[in-house]
């Protein structure tokens, strides 16, 4: 779950990380009022769950309340990277000496968290990492010992800080790590972390929380679906609200499988036979007839689809359930699109009988089923 900048900053402040004075607004009037209240130049930033908004024109500066209102007017409803800007964050403008990058994320390979820092923040950090990897300071946290103060001091040292600046930067590192751990962050980063005259402040904030850990963060859990707004297509949002694992693609063959790996392999096999998948839908394990019906109906109702391929393999998922679900879905969706089912597992014979009665092809080989689905899609 990706929090917006202003939401992330609320957590930052809770963990003692300094942030500039700011307020979230949804109308130009709000920008005017807040800029007047602050009485200093401000920056107005589009609140989006993706990076790179600066380059896309999502950040504007204003010297006066009038300019702030005009900037807000221009930014609201703007389309950036597929998102519509609905909220803005108005913040006091900083006199930045240097832009730093600081992040904490999961290091899969070392099975730990890693602290990343660079004195070349403010631009695409991945670009810096790719071009000049030596400019990135990495500290892999030993999960048993955790991040100690001397580790944080070392990170600050390696960025070139000494004295009080080292201590202040180190406390930033410690606080961000503590926040990452306690908030179950997949990623939390500050880019730029602004070095100003008298210290440091978080000019931006990102906090992506592990969806699997939301049971520990109930206050976020209820907003999970909402947080995907804009990031997912309309169809994907609808699928998510039905509890389906669905990704929209641009082809014309509907795909339903069980397990992410097998479903991906189904997509690949269809592609290899010259077809193109319209979606990825993973049923997961042990699907009930109701769930299978909902999934198949959802895909069949997609007007782009010329054929549906269902690929289920497993001892846990029952083939008679698959058959019942698919037959019911075709009846409910009331469409005459060709359906091909590949299944193997428990009650296979019964499943085949049900499908045959309904005039639906069933096969035991994924590769043959994919070939047939491509052929049927071409013919229809």
């Amino acid at each position: 779950m990706k929090l917006l900048e202003y939401e992330a900053k609320e957590y930052f402040r809770k963990y003692g990380i300094p942030t500039p004075r700011g307020r979230v607004i949804t109308a130009p009037q709000g920008a005017h009022e807040y800029a007047a209240e602050l009485g200093v130049p401000v920056v107005i930033k589009a609140q989006l769950p993706v990076g790179g908004r600066g380059k896309a024109g999502g950040i504007k500066f204003a010297e006066t309340p009038g300019e702030a209102a005009a900037a807000a007017e221009a930014l609201l409803r703007m389309r950036i990277k597929g998102f519509t800007v609905e909220k803005l964050y108005v913040e006091e403008k900083l006199s930045i000496v240097n832009e730093i990058y600081l992040g904490v994320t999961v290091d899969r390979r070392n099975k730990s968290y890693v602290v990343l820092a660079s004195s070349e923040g403010g631009m695409d950090i991945e670009e810096v990492a790719a071009r000049t990897p030596d400019r990135i300071v990495r500290h892999i946290v030993d999960p048993v010992h955790g991040l100690r103060s001397y580790h944080a001091n070392l990170v600050a040292k390696r960025l070139g800080y000494g004295g009080w600046k080292m201590l202040q930067f180190a406390s930033f590192v410690e606080s961000l790590y503590e926040l990452a751990l306690e908030m179950d962050a997949e990623l939390t980063e500050i880019n730029p972390l602004a070095e100003v005259e008298d210290g440091f402040t978080a000019a931006d904030a990102r906090l992506n929380v592990d969806d699997n850990a939301l049971f520990r963060h109930r206050e976020l859990e209820e907003r999970l679906l909402e947080s995907y707004q804009g990031e997912l297509t309309e169809k994907e949002m609808e699928a998510r609200s039905k509890g389906l694992t669905y990704v929209e693609l641009d082809g014309d063959i509907g795909i339903i499988g069980n397990g992410a790996g097998l479903t991906m392999a189904t997509l690949d096999t269809v592609m290899l036979h010259g077809g193109r998948a319209a979606n990825f839908l993973d049923l997961g394990g042990g699907a009930t007839p109701k769930r299978i019906r909902e999934a198949a109906e959802f895909v069949l109702r997609d007007e782009r689809i010329k054929a549906l391929l269902v690929n289920v393999l497993g001892g846990i998922t029952r083939c008679d359930y698959i058959a019942e679900g698919v037959v019911a879905a075709r009846r409910e969706a009331a469409v005459e699109k060709p359906v091909v089912v590949r299944m193997m597992g428990t009650n296979e014979e019964e499943g085949r009988r049900i499908l045959k009665e309904a005039g639906i092809d069933s096969l035991s080989s994924m590769e043959e089923a994919a070939e047939l689905a491509v052929k049927l899609a071409e013919a229809s």
Partner: protein
């Protein structure tokens, strides 16, 4: 050293009274697995399939001489359950549970590293020694005793390849589902090292998918001569769109490494036969053996 199972491994089922736990206890025993007891905190004294259920792992171990554990408890309790088995000295510990927070996985792997315990998973179908024992949820009917070891990050795709290997008349030795999460106990290299020493494994099927760099690292290990038996591979996700999540948290394309093409090329460069279809993995293995 990585530790797997055979027909004599005495298995504990954590979360035995739940629907998944009870169902798979039955199927594992049917396959021949020596399931000897179960645990569920608060359910001590009950029985499932005639097996005693205990409140704690230590009690089960004292009464039954348990070697290894398989975990079916819900995600919020999975870390506690796994640590309990690690501390009790059980090895391997197989975590079937889906949806475990990454922070919990990191803590588990760190503690397991200290004690040298093998963790399989989380979010894994488990492991099986064909014809002897399974600690997992894989359908038994697709496996037959043979000489091909399988390593896979995915569950059902692993069964798909096993089907073809069995149909080709080859069969399997030990098969390991690594698990689909970003942080898991084993990677390909750990299992390849074990297969290199395993006299019952003569060739390996390596099944991968987009995301991360575990397959690339396996390729480097093979290319450097770390694994000397024949390998055939299949990588899923060629038709995936960059940046789109395909269900697994691990299956996100990051940069150029992690794409299906990069993995396939790395493996080919290391001398691995890479199939475009799952059936081609079995065909290649048949030629190689």
């Amino acid at each position: 050293m990585t530790r797997f199972i055979d027909k004599d491994t005495r298995v504990l089922v954590q979360g035995m009274t739940g629907s998944q736990g009870a169902f798979h206890t039955h199927l594992m025993r049917e396959y021949g697995t020596k399931v000897v007891a179960g645990t569920v905190p608060g359910r001590g004294g009950q029985t499932i399939e005639g097996l005693s259920v205990y409140d704690t792992v230590v009690e089960a171990k004292e009464n039954h001489g348990v070697d290894a554990s398989i975990i079916f408890v819900p995600a919020p309790q999975a870390l506690d359950a796994a640590l309990e088995s690690v501390e009790a000295g059980l090895d391997p510990v197989v975590v079937i549970t889906e949806g475990m927070p990454v922070r919990d996985s990191i803590e588990l792997m760190a503690m397991a590293r200290l004690s040298g315990t093998t963790i399989v998973g989380p979010n894994t179908p488990g492991l099986i020694k064909a014809g002897e024992s399974k600690m997992g949820i894989m359908p038994a009917q697709v496996f037959r005793k043979g000489e091909v070891g399988i390593i896979s990050r995915s569950g059902t795709l692993f069964y798909e390849v096993a089907v073809h290997i069995t149909r080709a008349g080859l069969g399997q030795s030990t098969c390991v589902g690594l698990g689909g999460d970003p942080v898991v106990g084993l990677d390909y290299v750990d299992v390849l090292r074990w297969f290199e020493e395993d006299p019952e494994t003569r060739a390996v099927a390596l099944i991968g998918e987009i995301g991360g760099d575990a397959e690339e690292r396996a390729a480097a290990f093979i290319g450097d001569g770390g694994f000397t038996k024949p390998v055939a591979a299949y990588i899923a996700g060629r038709a995936a769109l960059p940046g789109k999540r395909m269900g697994h948290a691990g299956a996100i394309i990051q940069g150029s490494s992690g794409t299906a093409e990069s993995k396939m090329n790395a493996l080919r460069d290391a001398g691995v036969t890479v199939g475009e279809l799952p059936s081609q993995v079995a065909e290649a293995l048949k030629r190689l053996l």
